[in-house]
Subunit: 140 residues, 2 copies
DNA sequence: CCTCGTTGCTTGAGTGCATCAAGGATCATT
DNA sequence: AATGATCCTTGATGCACTCAAGCAACGAGG
């Protein structure tokens, strides 16, 4: 279990609740991944492969080094969840995509990660809209 | 930079904003720690030492193995931010606490991690209360 | 007292994430 | 062709995390 990010001493209740939310969210994500014997990073990458794409595109989208993606993809490939094929347009590049088993596992992961759905589901449609508006404003 | 936790395909806008919030929060936490040359885990442990406590207490509070805490504390100790002293009540145990330098760094970390403060600050007091109430309800 | 099970922490080994430096292959341009 | 940029991989390193094993000290019962 990754250590929580905070709380530093919180000065307002809203901050404290924000921290709780992030902590519970992150733990739920990790737990859902663990149910499928995936690391959070693996679940993350798997979830971004609705369409085939290059390694570099993944790295940029996820804000990390390309070599990091290489390693994660290598492991996902070893698990049979992902396949790399040469890009016909550019022989330097390799396109990554989910295998059928990868699709299956990704679906089960989405089903297992119920936190966001459940949390939002506790609110009425009006409340959901309010929450969305408030968070958008808070995010600036 | 740690890979983001999500999004799996989001079915509602509220879920998507929730994910954004968590992502931005986590990245801000990591960036604030990096400003002080700390890892997120180190910043987290440092932040929990307002009072001296045993290694086991830390591990339990943070939901991880005691040996994990040992390692993180060893590194913090090497940085001079933390000190371990024998517990006079129980010679098996060791009490960890921040050094003066640790206090200083922790303060600067709290100052550097502006995200939650800033985000909440964008809302009026009324809105902050609404947000708190909504998130509490969502968290169940 | 003195075992004996328990507790508190550390050590060691193993895995994975993350970043950086370096390198090979290919591309695109001149 | 030659050159420089781009795409990706490899290798090395550090940290987080977990598990198994171990040591030292506690506490309770004989």
């Amino acid at each position: 279990m990754a250590l929580p990010n905070g709380p530093v001493t919180t000065s307002s209740e809203a901050e404290a609740v924000l921290f709780d939310l992030v902590d519970v969210y992150d733990r739920a994500y990790e737990a859902a991944a663990a149910e499928l014997s995936l690391s959070p990073a693996q679940a993350c990458v798997l979830g971004r492969l609705d369409e085939r794409r290059g390694m570099g595109a993944l790295a940029e989208e996820l804000g990390c080094d390309a070599s990091n993606i290489t390693q994660i993809v290598v492991r996902l490939e070893a698990l049979g969840l992902v396949a790399r094929e040469p890009d016909p347009r550019d022989r330097r590049a390799r396109l990554v995509g989910r295998t059928p088993r990868g699709d299956e596992v990704n679906k089960r992961f989405a089903a297992a990660f119920t936190f966001a759905r459940t949390a939002v589901g506790r609110l009425s449609p009006d409340e959901q809209d309010q929450l969305t508006a408030l968070l958008r404003k808070a995010l600036g």
